[in-house]
Amino acid sequence: MTIAYDYKTRTSYTAEAAKERAAHKTLLQHAFEPSLPERGYTNRTLHIDLSTLTVTEKAVTEQMKEIFVGGRGFGLWYLWNAITPKTKWNDPENDIVISPGPLAGNTQYAGSGKSLVVTLSPLTSIPVDSNVGGYFGPLLKFCGYDALEIQGKAERDVVIVIDGPKKTITIEEAPDENPDSHVAAEVFTHEYADNEKDFVNVSVVSAGKGADHARIGCLNFSWFDPRRGAVRLKQAGRGGIGLVFRDKKIKALVVHGPKMKADMNRAVNFERTSKVGRKLAKEIHDLDDQQNKMRAIGTAHLVEIMDAYDLLPVHNFQYGKHKDIDKISSTVWQRRFTQGIFDGCWYGCHMACAKGADCHKVMTGPYEGHIVTVDGPEYETAAGLGSNCGIFEPDWILESNFYCDTYGVDTISFGTACAFAMECFQRGILTLERTGGLDLTWGNGRSHVELLHQMARGEGFGVIVGQGVKWMQEYFAEQGWGDLPFMRDIGMQVKGMEYSQYQSKESLAQQGGYALTNKGPQHDEAWLIFMDMVNNQIPTFEDKAEALHYFPLFRTWFGLMGLCKLPWNDIEPEDNAKHGKEAAKVPEHVYNYLELYAGITGKEMTPSQLIEQSEAVYNFQRVFNLRMGMGGRKSDWPPYRSMGPVTKEEYESRAERYDQQLKDLIGVDPEGKSTEEKMALHRAWREDRYNKLCDAVYIRRGWTNNAIPTLETLRKLRIDFPEVVAVVTPHLR
């Protein structure tokens, strides 16, 4: 281990903390009786209404546990009951629900500290769910709650404090603290911990000034990293939850939990959970260095791999690789990340992939000259803020990573939205005059970060970018700046959400993996590119449909349980290949999860029952979309850029491949044809294939040909409640 700098050096923000705390005005103090979970559940939900300043408890019923399970399922169920089909994201009845899930908080199995956040999204106008690390969810549970549901709006900025040891819930006006998350998380941790040793028992949820003005606003969930002596952040990034949070005038949510012990979940069979946990820990210890090096580089190990397979988004997903890749490859990040210290975002996570770039000296904006720890970049951030915007300078990527996080802006959506704006600039849809003087040439890191500063100040072109791709498409068209169909082809959004950072042109299954999602194109539902495009393991429409049934449902399960997906398949048993075609499911790890579930809850389950658990919630979410006015095949239609080459440059950059495909797959001789003619042939073929994929997927999922879950499917999944059936029925006629 060589650390050439003092990784504990960073700017501190707590000098005024006592004064800032003294300025709080308590609006409500509510006494409660903390409790620990039994078999993973506490059986209570905390409901807070900020408009009426009321705190109540709701019972978590057996039916809720049976059907909605926890985490994302609980969030969707509470949101369904809180809002109407007419509700908008900024109506007071919109909920923010945070729920950790029954397996969250266990310390025996890697990746068990996640919270799921659900709200009605300002980006998509449908429910969004986001899976996030940090300690908030587990500590909430160990205070006595399976979920926290926040409705209403405060009049002025408040902090909500759930304090287990003090047995109080308070809502306090907090006028003076800086909302930017790297400051707010540190300051509130200091304000509500009893002493330094107690920092680890406090977690803060916050969103910075950018989230005040951006539909792509995110939430930061903190945990205290005792090795660095730093408060670290993980993001609930997708769907604009940060904007909803700030619209409710929440400056921070603070949970102060009890002192941690190993079996706070009070598992039915703790040894059973420990046994599978030890097995996985050994695998990680023995194999991670040969496999993905998650402990050294985190998910940033993927950067040059995606480039090598032509999958890295470059210049708004026009291309899949770039000559300057070495400047942002994993070796660069490995040097930037402090090595040799444990980087788990929850206790017991031996994957320890929550890497931190310490001692970044901030180059711009209000924190210029400060020394900060940047949480990341993960792969999505390196690709989104880097290659997709043509930025191959690690310092600028770290700078925008830092400001995205502290301002509460989702790095994935920001990367994709900027890339869209930069391509519009390249093509003259935007000009210096239209951007207010910002030069959005590919690779301009300084302008990139300036967009974030503008977003935080609520002014300038940054606020426009902060509304996301869909909003920009419509606004630019309204202004007469660009052709809407063309902008729809190049704007990488579905359902209003920006794409995450994988090129899907050559993987039909991944085109579906993105666009057939419930919440919008996030890879956490399905990442099938290697299986499909490289391994050629799912050649037929039916094969792809099967994968698009199984994997989204399997991955949904992590969100029901409060688990992290990474220890499932970013580490694999040495002999995993023996499972042949099934190897992509990592069957031994599926077995581990069933053991973990049984060990904690006492309920035995088969692999197919696991999938059925998810299937009920997944279909419920589909119906929920329909209830909010989004549904049918048209809502699953991707931008053409995700399917094939939109422009001549794209076609000609890979002309050999596309010409070959014309010959071999489309049955047309490209000889003598213009690029435009060849592009048109490709488009017709690719769109037809996508439609055929939808046909096969909808059948496999038990939906109509227009993507509506049938009554039979709802009945089979036991979600045929009258209000659910009432939503679906008019669409079945």
Binding site: I305, N535, E572, A577, A584
Partner: protein, 65 residues
């Protein structure tokens, strides 16, 4: 000629698994290679010679993302 993951690749005598991985730019570390259905052990890719007409499977193990 051989096939690699279902698509054709020009063959030459003495062609090894390592060469195939290089030609196809398969730089990912979690690979499982099968030649005509037989597993090729990791660490032997440099010396494992592939016969003409072989069906080569290079399975990338990540489910990723």
């Amino acid at each position: 000629m051989i096939t690699v993951n279902g698509s054709p690749l020009e063959w030459h005598p003495g062609m090894t698994v390592a060469e195939i991985l290089k030609v196809r730019n398969y730089i990912f570390r979690m690979l499982v290679v099968q030649v005509n259905g037989d597993l090729v052990k990791r660490g032997t890719y440099d010396t494992a010679v592939v016969p003409d007409g072989a069906d080569v499977q290079v399975i990338h193990m990540i489910s990723g993302g």
